[in-house]
Symmetry: C2
Subunit: 615 residues, 2 copies
């Protein structure tokens, strides 16, 4: 999604801004741009397409100067184009802004500004914001020592929507202003230099310390330091944190794509997620970060899990795990639906918010709504120090390491593992005996090696992927613990291959979806040995009866499935509770190798963004 | 889905059986067959394809005789073919059986029978059952006066799975045997003649009275009467009901397809669903069939709604309605998932099972599981006297009239209306004032006329349908009350046009699905005036920014949407609670006219069945 990098310091801004943008590239974008101040003049270059296009343009016409703002755009209002790329300028062409988020009342504001003579060069909501700030600036007295900050403050009071912004003005050669509401923004502090960025990744290696700005903050950065105020208060408190090592740039390490690297990272990632959290002695899991004692955990009567995309799918697997082991009612909701539906909750309900980045706008909004309702909200995040991690009362870090591929892989298995630990913990407080707990923990400890064994057979999946790469559409089918995996398998396929893939509970096929089945539409059935194996076999027969090709992900030792399915991939035998972590891996590889066959841009699929910071 | 018709009487069986099969045709099938006994000889004719193929074959070689069984098959094991069509014969070729349901352990049974010399001519599980009964018959002494019933009883004890069967044997010229477990079977009683059928529709007009057989029943019909026993008891009780008028055959009434007729039936259907149930005086809804007094209704703490396909989508709309008006937590589950997941329930939870036919196998299984857990289970069904209606403690009939089109339309709006009434009733017991209740009831009373006004503008939708009929895929997007409508719109499109249509909450687009968007994939946005209108507009802008065509279903008086969307259809202004009943109608028409443009077989889409009586 959109990325912001701003710089103020003693060095040339252009190479630092470009290197920051490069680090944000993985988040998905469709155009980029840069504005730098030099000798009271504003230089701007913007290009549709990859950052390399911008660099090419800058080779012809470099931008000197030591203060600037830059941006990668993921289109929300207006198609990707040079004109719609950020930075945007105000009417005077002396103020430049970059912006993440959505200004919801931009049409009204645009109308008012047009009526008073403003001309717009783009279709974006951001340009309206630029003009609004420029107008406020012109109305303030030139002698105001905080004229630009005050103009930003004044303009933002008129705005409905979300924003993270960085602003410079040709009149102010030593001032960089930032503000946020709803979209993340961090202030990076280096040696005599400062950064503004939407993501700590962009400044890691440059800034040693960071301030995670809070919603409503306005920061004014000058060479000698910075001030943080808010829309209503002249000064607000803040906290300076060290940049953690794990936030440093991830390397490809010899893999052709981040996605493939991250699929192969999984044994290590889930090992990290369980490290120090399994207690064989007490036959339970330990999750101290929840900040809840056993007595409090025992009082939970209901759990609501909110998330988007892949994180929601992990929540669906979690729902079955917690219901099975702890027999607590669990409901999973789209974060975007949860936040508006005024869901009935009570004091004994706990809300879990799942987000790899910890910045997902819909999920963050759901967290805040649940908090307003007096709920205890806990986070399951990967990014340490992210907004959701900070705004929740506690939670569990995934410790999966940086995930760069837009299609989430290792964050999914880590999230499922965290839910498994949570289910064991809640289960042991309720119905699980020490013997059952111990057995589960021993099985969980085997998972990393079992994932490694699945990965070692990647060539089998590659052959299947190549066989079906020209499919028009695909169906992914699973029941119970495998239902969430069916959804996730379909999403991976859709995200990086653009094949129309759908995930459904296997039984739901015959209630409509089976109309799609013919010789050209393969169905992928998740049918490891579990309580619904026989039912799955009946559903496979229904698909075969309509000549649909069937790929089955089954368990080692299954000698029935080979007679029914066209292609079979076998996972190691394990409890049905643990199987989702093993069955999702071949589906990740299936999507990857299919995309490879089709020549897709795997790490940067069209239209998509890594961390979705608009609603 | 599969249909059974059996006959024993004084008339020629063939025309009666064929006419019964014709009445079951709407349920979906891919082959049919008939077996008739005459002078100790069994005559069998079976054909892949439509019933007209079977009739053609019977014109060449008629089957005389006054006792017979017949079947329409919806393939579960083995492709549609002459050989796989029912009836199936035993090893001696003297016993014929027709069967609905799935024999889960057929592979094991087949192996055992093959080892002892049995030969099979089809890939079906049913043929295995025929051989199994034939084997049991041969082992029983010829002097046993109940040899055939006893053979059926003995064979069925070996079977795991579901069945509704009808059996005849060349040795028994005056005996028709039926049995059921999991699949419906009814005994029709006429004047000196008897019918066995999977559906009362098949015998209406012929039989005046019926016995709805219960699970485990075995019926033996002879010219002078019938006996009902069970697997374990020599005699069981039963009840004889009159055949109701509404169960009589539905007529096309000048429409080219049942689906179109049923779309246009909707003003009348929802008028029937609300008739006698609105009380303006008391500002509430009256649903006496729930069999719960106000005190009991007030004690409900949580509601679980189970259903499949369209019925589940109505449940999702119901979830938002009940949560809004009564502020009770509601969870909607796939019936197939619910039945196996051992969901945590307690005594204050009420389960609603939604099924038009009242025979949906997955939903019925969920009803039984919930009853086993001591839950109060209520039904929302259309078919009076159906298994779900009989096995629940109470419920609400939809009174939508017979629905023949495989793609459900009027049953959906009727189900949503029933949930609306339920939400008003539960709301008035809790948070709704008399004033609010009255306002809602007045608005509900306007709905039939508002639906009529939407239908009168069918040409606008037809034009949109023709414009986009060659789309490769379509996205249906809605939030909150419109989320279930997005799912239902996509399902209609998929069922009858085979276009890969997906429904999602609008906000979820950017979490993966937006990768599919390009110039050829239209998105249908449901954005009437409601609390999330502005958010929808932002999501439309995201799609337009990627050049995706947008069709918007919006409210009259909306002057913003026309500037964003490519095509707009406006519904009458109404409360956001009622809008789902109005927005779904244009989506039904969109699917219908798209299918018409593509020349699809609208009332009998491929692979699908009307009432899904296998799991």
């Amino acid at each position: 999604m959109c990325g912001i990098v701003g710089y103020l310091g003693q060095k040339e801004a252009q190479p630092l801004l470009l290197s920051g943008l490069r680090r944000l590239e993985y988040r998905g974008y469709d155009s980029s741009g840069i504005a730098i101040l030099d000798k009271g003049q504003l230089g701007v270059v913007k290009r549709k397409g990859r950052i390399s296009e911008l660099e090419l343009a800058l080779q012809k016409q470099g931008l000197p100067g030591k203060i600037g703002v830059s941006h990668t755009r993921w289109a929300t209002h207006g198609i990707p184009s040079d004109a719609n790329a950020h930075p945007h300028l105000d009417q005077s062409h002396r103020l430049a802004i970059v912006h993440n988020g959505v200004i919801e009342n931009y049409q009204l504001l645009k109308q008012r500004l047009s009526d008073s003579g403003h001309h717009f060069e783009s279709e974006t909501d951001t340009e309206v914001l630029a003009h609004l700030i420029g107008e406020a600036y012109d109305l303030l007295p030139p002698q105001d020592p905080q004229r630009l900050e005050n103009a930003v403050r004044s303009a933002l009071t008129e705005v409905i929507g979300t924003y993270g912004i960085a602003v410079i003005h040709a009149d102010c050669p030593n001032l960089l202003v930032g503000a946020r509401r709803g979209s993340p923004l961090i202030l990076g502090i280096g040696n005599g230099e400062f950064f503004l960025s939407s993501d700590v990744t962009a400044v890691s290696g440059q800034a040693q310390r960071v301030v995670y700005l809070s919603d409503g903050d306005i920061v004014a950065i000058r060479p000698d330091g910075f001030d943080i105020s808010s829309l209503t208060r002249p000064r607000v408190g803040f906290e300076i944190s060290e940049v953690e090592k794990t936030e440093a740039e991830a390397e490809l390490g010899g893999y052709p794509h981040y996605m493939l690297k991250e699929i192969f990272d999984q044994p290590e990632a889930i090992r990290n997620a369980m490290r120090g959290r399994l207690d064989l002695e007490e036959a339970t899991a330990k999750l101290g970060g929840l900040n809840m004692n056993p007595h409090q955990l025992l009082r939970i009567q209901r759990i609501v899990i909110v998330g988007c995309g892949t994180a929601r799918h992990a929540g669906i697997v979690g729902e079955y795990l917690i219901e099975s082991l702890a027999h607590l009612p669990v409901e999973v909701d789209y974060a975007s639906e949860f936040r508006y539906r005024n869901a009935p909750l009570d004091g004994e309900t706990v809300v879990f918010a799942v987000s790899q980045s910890g910045e997902t706008a819909d999920t963050l909004a759901a967290v805040r709504e649940a908090k307003r309702k007096g709920m205890r909200v806990l986070g399951i995040c990967n990014q340490v120090g992210s907004t959701i991690a900070r705004e929740t009362e506690g939670g569990v870090y995934m410790h999966a390491g940086p995930e760069i591929g837009v299609a989430a892989t290792k964050s999914f298995t880590s999230q499922v593992l965290v839910f498994l630990l949570l289910a064991v913990l809640l289960g042991r407080l309720r119905y699980l005996s020490a013997r059952q707990g111990k057995k589960l923990i021993e099985a969980i400890e085997k998972l990393p090696d079992q994932v490694t064994s699945v990965l070692s057979r990647h060539k089998e999946i590659r052959a299947i992927a190549e066989k079906y790469a020209d499919a028009e559409a695909m169906l992914f089918l699973g029941r119970q613990f495998q239902y969430g995996i069916a959804l996730e398998g379909a999403l991976k396929m859709k995200e990086i291959t653009y094949i129309r893939a759908e995930g459904h509970p296997a039984a739901e096929l015959k209630h409509g979806v089976i109309a799609l089945v013919d010789e050209r539409i393969p169905s992928i059935f998740l049918c490891p040995q579990d309580g619904v194996y026989d039912k799955n076999v009946s559903n496979i027969a229904e698909v075969k009866a309509r000549r649909g090709p069937v790929i089955a992900i089954a368990s080692e030792g299954d000698d029935r499935i080979g007679k029914l399915a066209d292609d079979v991939f076998l996972i190691p035998q394990c409890s049905e509770l643990l199987a989702p972590i093993l069955t999702v891996v071949p589906l990740q590889l299936l999507a990857y190798y299919t995309a490879l066959s089709l020549g897709r841009d795997i790490d940067k699929p069209r239209n998509l963004a890594k961390s979705v910071t608009v609603e």
